[in-house]
């Protein structure tokens, strides 16, 4: 049961991003959590190593603990977040949805697309994934599909470009 059902009209064939994207997000979440944990525990480490005078007060453990707990909750939520990302190709529009707590459903008419970006980073690339971004003349259109398989991304780009030309309307 997708989280955004009540925001989107029925009868759309929703597609999900690649399951492999879950691993990308997990790796990202772990790295972010660790980096933050290291950053916030600098005073603690300095105390423990004896660079700073005295023994570490108990509350110095708090920041690192909070970050780690937050990271754990995050890791637990990542699968549901990834499952919440979806897209549906209607005859004249592309529907996108995302978000678990803050949900969004976006409609982008094909005729409004100005260009389509395909991006991939080192981690995404290692999993054979790419992210597709749709740009309209509006800066507030937030239409990103992260973690599509390469072939699917290329297919989608071709499809969107073709349909965009078909339905193109001037500003």
């Amino acid at each position: 049961m997708p989280a955004t059902t009540e925001l989107s009209p029925p009868g759309l064939q929703w597609r999900h991003v690649s399951p492999k994207y879950l691993r990308v997000r997990l790796i990202g979440a772990v790295i972010t959590t660790l980096v933050w944990a290291v950053v916030v525990s600098v005073p603690l480490v300095l105390h423990l190593l004896g660079t700073w005078e005295g023994s570490a007060p108990w509350w110095l453990w708090l920041p690192a603990g909070v970050v780690l707990v937050w990271g754990g909750v995050n890791l637990f939520l990542v699968p549901r977040r990834v499952r919440a990302i979806g897209y549906a190709e209607a005859p004249t529009e592309l529907w996108l949805r995302k978000g678990l707590f803050f949900r969004t459903v976006t409609v982008v008419p094909y005729g409004r697309m100005q260009y389509v970006d395909i991006k991939t980073g080192p981690v995404l690339n290692a999993f054979g994934l790419a992210s597709v971004t749709l740009h309209t003349a509006s800066a507030s259109t937030d239409a990103v599909l992260p973690g599509l398989p390469r072939e699917e991304a290329d297919r989608l780009r071709e499809q969107l470009t073709e349909r965009g030309e078909e339905h193109m309307v001037g500003l």
Binding site: P9, F101, F102, V107, V108, P109, A137
Partner: protein, 581 residues
Amino acid sequence: MTGGEETRPELPAAPWERSGGGTADPGTPSPPAAASAPAVAPGAPQSRDAAAPGGEVDGEWHRVHLLTPFVRSWLLLVALVWGFANTFVDDVVSSFVKHEPIQVDVGGAVRVVGAGLGLAVLCGVLGVLIGLGLLSWWFTRYQITGEHVRFRSGWLFRTQRQARLDRVQGIDVERRFLPRVLGLSSLKFDVADGGSSVLELSYLGRDHARELRSQLLVAAHRAAERQETARATSPAAVPDAEAGSAGADPAPGTRSGRSREGVDVRVAQKYGILSERDELRRVFTVPTARVLLALVCSPPAVVLLLLALLMAGLSVWFPEALVVVLPTAVPPLLGVVSGLYSRLERSWGFTLSEVPEGVRTRSGLFNERSSTIPTGRVQALEVTAPLLWRFFGGHRVTVTTAGKGGAGGTETLGSVVLPVGTWEQVRGVLELVLPLELTPTDLVTEGLRGIGGGENFTTSPRRARWLDPLTWRRTGFAMDEAVLVLRRGRLARHASVVPHHKTQSAALSQGPLERRFGLSDLSVHVTPGSVTTAVAHLDVADARALLERHTQLARAARARVGARAPERPWSTAAPAPDTVR
């Protein structure tokens, strides 16, 4: 056109003139000697050319009227004279009256004894001022070529401003009070660049200005026509030899003929060359009284008043606290004053005129700016009725125009089409500006004044009052075949209009708190600009239905617009030949 022009000798040497007349008549044999894309026929001046703007449209540098620097700095002159009067005349007169030896007190430091010396100093200073003025006059020049108007001024710091004649939307003869008394006028050029400063030729003798204006209008006409011809011939993108033969070819001839005809009609409306008065249809000018009233009732003015009250209160009860408070009050005070000033600049003398492409706005107190808003590119419009303007019925209208957002400076001016106006003016502006066949005046009226769900509007459900205690009955939307109208705000009331065929995309969003209340936000995405196109806290079912319906209507509207005008998207490269028209 004034009689003076017809008697002016034609200047066949001027390069602009040849290219202007050649393509005018498709029947004129064009020798294949054309050097550039617009086919050129050097021979046989047309009858219209007999009324050529000779005169100063010759690329020479001309000087403005001799009195210009003194009129420009009249305030300074008045201040100086006042100062002199205060320091010297008083002393001189009183000593004459008392039959005492004249003692002139210059600032208490230097004592100049004797009227002669005092007068000499006065004359010297005046002489220096006059000399400076003359120097400034000497370096203030203007040049009019076939393509440009250039205005150069300053002898220490030189500035040159120029306007392309083919982009000139209109030329006004302006007469302010002091120049008017002295029989001077200035010419004001409105250029069709977004948010550009108005170019002003000042000052010229009254008759001279009028005559020059006619000449310039004809020159601008020519420039626009030439531009049009160049555009008509350029898609062929042919090398020189082919351009020549293309000029003789009947097909491009008729094409340029048609475009010329289009230009003539347009230009005749636009410039009204034969009429003496304003060629632009001036829709309205905001009266100064209302500008000032709106300014007094604006947030910065209220803040200023509060600050002043605070200061007054402090000085009465805690005078010693002022030492601390005054310095800290300076930065916010500066902010408030600059806010007031920018409001004043944006609304002072605000004039909206109709031009062939859409509307043109002009405003400014010290730095006049103009901006052309092509109606077809208006993406969204917002009518606001601020709380403090309610008692005199003031409204503000802003628009978002494609290609004008983002760049902050131009956006602020380019987006206001009515800084403060009556409801009648709002209606007029809606008619003028919205790129629609049927203006949704009723919906906007209800959007601005209505409260609670009406026959057209769907508002937030009652449970939204926990999130929007004040505004939940106002927040809402209405839709017809062509537009979406969003309304919000209880104290300051807003109504936004977004034509369906202009929307880029749309989105529904929902946060955790909204989910508990079963609410959802809708935002419609348009090109960047100052108009708010989102509505918050709708019932989820309503919002979903709205999104679905809006998507359908937008699809239909796009199809309708696409079928009516085969507009090419600006992303496609070479325009098809049939779009040249």
